[in-house]
């Protein structure tokens, strides 16, 4: 490990503190949503469409309703009849011509049409899952099957089946970003243009815990309590209450208990969450639903699914003059909560990367298809942007015969703050320093010798780079609003000091693997001098926590941590006043350090626990100036995104006989600014790289063009990375350039690994295959695809050889 050395050994920030949450997870005492069973529990199963596109002519539930154990059956008609709203989209994007995007209705349960395999058709509630499933078999649905469209690249072509009447040509929007004229002008004077066609393939997030809901209605106060595996309970509550069920928010409590991974897929307001909540009042019993894995493949929001043509214009020395990108992004059958922002705001704004490219223009066409809705998945738009940029830069290096590290160095941004032509101002960084260090760690100097050694053993060795930057710590609300967000992106933190001096922290952030119960406690421990054991972090319950926006977009430490810091400021200020009262001094003369309040320049002190007790036993308080209690909250709205960056190097060996690729070494050097817990940060990078390698080499969600069926519908067909697929990682968290605009100087690290890694892997494989004439490869680089690429290159060069005059 390589954390910056913490100068003061009893400071928590910067220390690899082992996690408080581990004990319960290791001993089987975690409480995940499916573990929750309520009195008089009923069980829900959804009837789902077996067709990609069909009209629903009729649904006959008569026989099913009489089946043993059935409590109730509801259809889309029932919900429509009670004015249940559709699932909302949280980000409004405008077309280039200024018109707002097409926003077709998104029913909770399909009413007149089904639009993807898996689309909800009916909700069956029974005394057991088995009885619900037996009843489902008795439901008769008369479908009028329609032709389906699934292919992203051609969905907007004339003559395609129309997914929504409200979206002609299956277009959601056509959005532009950047300076088109300046970019075209740059291309006009380029010495060299590199062009690349890229498919960023559809992925299925597949957190190991499937989604689950347990919704109950309380007749005593007409309220609902909903347990749900979710990343942002307040957002869930706001969307469901205000926009779908027309409930006062005070009547809906959302509890996200332990959640087994999210990666974005548990952000959204899903149909099942709403349907169960609504139905719980109908049946007056709690209703429980747990997604099965093959059901998750058909209902969890999928990720990525872009088709892109990118062009990079350079002068004769490889200086980037302009970047032009055209992307078609698949929205799926309906707009998921943040879908529209992923290929726009979170994508095009990153197309400068680490480079001082002066002119950039991106045009993004978002299309509807008869597939599962697509939304944020770890990285959300930034992996797609980084993949375009780092692939085209390395391809350009090869074409121009310039070393790939050198080409990057010629174009790095070297002074900060730097405002890019795509709208972001990077506050701090040191890109060339990171690359230097990564190359050193990866022993790039020794690579030629290693390649020779591989060659002797009949293998092809390659080295690939990826220098990424990302924008996270979402987000300044005013900027987000200006860009179309229908929500703010602040975070909430409340610090409750108890009379005995222990502390409970309520955070709007949510931990589903990130270790906030430990890292946030480290922050509080350092400030208040309270031991980690006496600090409790509470998250995930709208009934206990002020309104926060939840965890995604690598925002928890940057925004949630900052909210806690602001609340700590208020606690410290109030505590000093109480200490001043106790010490009969003025508050300005009180110093607070390591849990002790001292009258400056004297040895008169009070301990934190004495002050906290006094706060709740306020004898002789000057009540006109000082309230009892020690409990403060803060809402923090960041002034900018944060900008983690890194240099990744991947070294591979390819077997030319089988196309099999083994990663020999994966080196990652990241700048996350200040670090709270280096062990947890590295774990986040490991996990992100694991998913990035999964995308680069293994995973792909495949739809059949004819039938619209999801062919990769289970773990049998969708290649999840196993331990045997991945190498050890050489991860170093650089001392970094602290973020200049938040109190902790942190940048966040949750998604970086998934953002930076795919280009490094593919660049490495192409480097290995380039002596054979391979110049490009689409993800995933399965052995079959690598083998095909090698043989296609060999055939092409043989053909060229054959046509050369003797």
């Amino acid at each position: 490990m390589n954390a910056p050395e913490t100068p003061d050994t009893h400071r928590m920030i910067g220390a690899a503190v082992r996690r408080k949450e581990d004990y319960r997870f290791l001993t089987g005492n975690g409480q995940y949503t499916d573990d929750v069973v309520l009195p008089r529990q009923t069980y829900a199963v959804f009837l789902r469409s077996p067709y990609a596109h069909a009209k629903i002519r009729s649904i006959d539930i008569a026989a099913a309703k009489e089946a043993p154990g059935v409590v109730a059956i509801f259809t889309g008609a029932d919900m429509a009849g009670e004015n249940v709203g559709g699932l909302p989209c949280g980000w409004l994007i405008h077309n280039i011509d200024g018109k707002p995007m097409n926003e077709p209705p998104h029913p909770v349960i399909a009413h007149t049409k089904v639009r993807h395999v898996g689309d909800q058709v009916a909700l069956i509630i029974a005394e057991s899952v088995k009885e619900a499933k037996d009843a489902i078999d008795l439901i008769e649905v008369d479908y009028d099957v329609l032709p389906a469209v699934v292919d992203t690249a051609t969905a907007a072509d004339p003559g395609q089946p129309q997914v929504h009447d409200e979206a002609p040509n299956n277009l959601c929007y056509t959005w532009g970003h950047g300076d088109k004229a300046a970019t075209d002008a740059a291309f006009a004077k380029a010495a060299h243009v590199t062009t690349l066609d890229i498919v960023n393939q559809r992925l299925v997030p597949n957190a190991i815990e499937p989604r689950a809901v347990n919704a109950s209605y309380s007749k005593s106060d007409d309220s609902y309590t909903v347990y749900v595996a979710n990343q942002n309970p307040h957002v869930e509550r706001l969307l469901m209450a205000a926009f779908v069920l027309s409930l006062p928010e005070s009547k809906l409590r959302i509890i996200a208990p332990d959640v087994g991974g999210g990666f974005g897929s548990k952000i959204y307001l899903y149909a099942e969450d709403v349907a169960l909540t609504w139905a719980s009042k109908k049946v007056r019993r709690p209703i429980k639903w747990t997604c099965e894995r093959s059901e998750a493949f058909l209902t969890d929001a999928h990720g990525r699914d872009h088709v892109t043509k990118a062009e990079l214009a350079m002068d004769a020395d490889g200086k980037f003059l302009g970047l032009r990108v055209h992307t078609t992004a698949n929205m799926g059958a309906y707009l998921s909560t943040f879908a529209t922002a992923i290929p726009t705001i979170l994508y095009a704004t990153l197309l400068a990367g680490q480079y001082a490219t002066p002119a950039i223009y991106a045009e993004v066409k978002a299309v509807f298809t008869n597939t599962v809705p697509v939304d944020a998945y770890r990285g959300a738009g930034r992996p797609e942007a980084t993949y375009v940029l780092e692939r085209i830069v390395e391809t350009a290096a090869r074409e121009m015969n310039i070393d790939p590290a050198e080409l990057r160095r010629r174009n790095f941004i070297r002074s900060w703050p730097y405002t890019t032509p795509v709208g972001l101002t990077y506050d701090s960084g040191d890109y060339s320093g990171l690359l230097d260090r990564a190359m050193q760690l990866a022993d790039v100097e020794g690579f030629p010798a290693r390649r020779e050694e591989s060659k002797k053993n009949g293998k092809l060795r390659g080295l690939g780079y990826s220098c990424y930057i990302e924008a996270c710590g979402l987000a300044p609300s005013n900027l987000a609003g200006a860009l179309g967000a229908r929500a703010g992106l602040f975070e909430a933190g409340e610090i409750r000091v108890h009379p005995t001096g222990s502390v409970t922290v309520f955070t709007g952030s949510h931990s589903h693997g990130q270790g906030h119960e430990t890292t946030f406690a480290q922050v509080v421990a350092d400030r208040l001098g309270v031991s980690m054991d006496n600090i409790e972090i509470v998250h995930g319950d709208t009934g206990r926590i002020p309104f926060g926006m939840g965890t995604y977009g690598s925002r928890s430490i940057a925004v949630g941590g900052s909210a806690i810091m602001k609340a700590l400021d208020k606690i410290e200020e109030k505590a000093k006043k109480i200490a001043a009262h106790l010490l009969e001094a003025s508050a300005e003369d009180i110093e607070f350090k390591d849990g002790i309040f001292r009258v400056a320049g004297t040895d008169r002190t009070k301990a934190f626990a004495e002050v906290s007790l006094a706060a709740y036993v306020p004898h002789n308080f000057p009540l006109d100036k000082l309230e009892p209690g020690l409990n403060e909250n803060a809402f923090y709205d960041p002034s900018n995104f944060t900008y983690p960056s890194g240099a990744y190097l991947c070294e591979v060996e390819v077997d030319p006989d089988t196309g099999e690729t083994r990663i020999q070494k994966f080196t990652a050097v990241d700048d996350f600014g200040n670090i709270v817990n280096p062990m947890i940060v590295e774990g986040q990078v490991h996990g992100g790289i694991g998913q990035g390698i999964g995308q680069a080499m293994l995973e792909r969600a495949v739809y059949d063009n004819e039938s619209g069926q999801l062919m990769s519908g289970s773990f049998m067909d969708y290649a999840m990375p196993h331990a045997s697929d991945l190498p050890n990682f050489d991860v170093e968290t650089s001392k970094g350039t602290p973020c200049v605009h938040n109190p902790l100087g942190v940048k966040g690290c949750g998604e970086a690994g998934a953002i930076g890694s795919p280009p490094a892997v593919i660049n490495a494989i192409i480097d290995a295959l380039s002596p054979l004439g391979v110049t490009d490869l689409q993800m995933p680089a399965t052995p079959h695809r690598v083998w095909v690429a090698m043989h296609a290159a060999a055939d092409a060069s043989a053909a060229r050889g054959a046509s050369t005059p003797a």
């Binding site: 290791l26 959640v259 694991g690 196993h722 991945l726």
Partner: protein, 158 residues
Amino acid sequence: MALSISLTVNGKAVTATVEPHILLVQFLREELGLTGTHVGCDTAQCGACTVHLDGRAIKSCNILAVQADGSSVTTIEGMAKDGELHPMQAAFKECHGLQCGFCTPGMVMSATSLVAQKPDLTEADVREQLDGNLCRCTGYHNIVKAVVQGAQAMKAAP
């Protein structure tokens, strides 16, 4: 058509009447309330349901409860003794071998069984033998370290 079964679970004798179609994982979670064993898939691939059956790591989603009649089952809840973590559990904590915790019980059960079979296992052994346990959070890096460290601790334990 309910059937009567008798088995030992975490050292305690259990007698129950179950429907023939009930999986062992359902029996453990729903009948016995031992919710530490998790369901993560429907094709017996993720391994989150791994328990020990007569000393062998098996996937409890892939066996009927009635098949466990007369057997001894150990779940994750049976690994710590008197609140003290088993050396493998302690190794996972020390090495940060878990994040969301959902795959963790299955990993610990697979790992302890693996180490019992091959006490001097290498990292390569671990990667190969954990093929039946999926993790989406950690990228496996720290899990592998934890299992190797846990193996050493298990050897050293009295």
